[in-house]
Amino acid sequence: MEKGKKVNLILLTFSALLGFMAVIQLNQDMESYNFVTLRTIQVSKNEIANTSKEIEDLETLIVEKEEEIKRIENTKDESSAHSILNEELDKTKIASGFCDMEGPGIVIIMQDNQAAEIVGYDVNDDVIHDIDILNILNDLRIAGAEAISINGQRIMPMSEIKCGGPNIKINGKSLATPFVIKAIGNPKTLYASVNAPSTYGYKLKNLYQINIETSIEDKINISAYSGNFVFRNANPTKEGD
């Protein structure tokens, strides 16, 4: 009888231990037991970086706006209000492209393939098209170009780049080769965005033999947009409506 009790006690204890372990194991969060590929990690990292940068930007914007509000609140007489309004006007002009700009950047000169023999399947491969200009423009914008002009035409938010037969139409004006693209921004990144391997500019230059010359310049002048927009359909919405 004494031995039987001991046996039962041991069985009881160890069964308790077993039940305990099993329940702990069952209570674990098994959903996190997923496979994570390196790609997913990279994508998530990028997402996090983007979002945190966005948050940072918004925070600086808040600070900026608060300062602006303070400044506006502190204005008392008419002349200071006038100067603030002028400042705002200048800022808006700069942002919208109605202002001449200068600064460091790059100048790209693009010309059709001048060689006698044609490279591609047909002659179209040797000619610069609107889509080529658009792609390069996009690359420049990604590289942080702050002001861009093509053959003197300032690229505006509403500028179109359209095929016009042998030439290209920008801002409603026909432009022909050679295309001189000027961009203000960080010269190194801008240069890389056109010349680095596997960029669109690199392909054009080396695959299609389009003449693309890129030069870094310390001082580039980009003139303002000369026309003016007429809004027929778009109406501004007032804040708080």
Binding site: V7, N8, T13, G19, M21, A22, V23, Q25, Q28, D29
Partner: protein, 114 residues
């Protein structure tokens, strides 16, 4: 038999009350260890019913099998060979064997008592 069930229930209650968590990386090792423990408990019940129960063998088997099984699973992970299958087949097979013996003992017990 009866004590083993009661003990398991007590363990379940304690496990539900205590908030213990560990990394899901160890989940596989722990589950293999649990299988080994389950086998040991079944073996203990069987031995108890056969009146051959030895505390030393039971306790050493309980811990030794669990640790060996978890270690096998870990080594398998390291080497890229699923070694824990060895533990699963051994203990799983023995589990059913033990259970079969327990069933026979329990079912045959009643007529002999009468």
């Amino acid at each position: 038999m009866f004590f083993a069930i009661i003990g398991t229930l007590i363990g379940v209650v304690i496990g539900l009350l205590l908030p213990i968590t560990y990394s899901p990386t160890y989940a596989l090792y722990v589950s293999v260890a649990i299988l080994a423990c389950l086998d040991s408990v079944f073996g203990g019940i069987r031995a108890n019913l056969q009146d051959k129960f030895d505390a030393k063998i039971f306790v050493s088997g309980f811990f030794g099998n669990a640790i060996l099984a978890a270690f096998l699973a870990y080594m398998g992970d390291r080497l890229g060979v699923p070694l824990y299958y060895a533990a699963i087949f051994t203990f799983g097979g023995r589990l059913f064997e033990n259970f079969a013996v327990i069933r026979r003992l329990l079912l045959n017990k009643k007529p002999t008592k009468k």
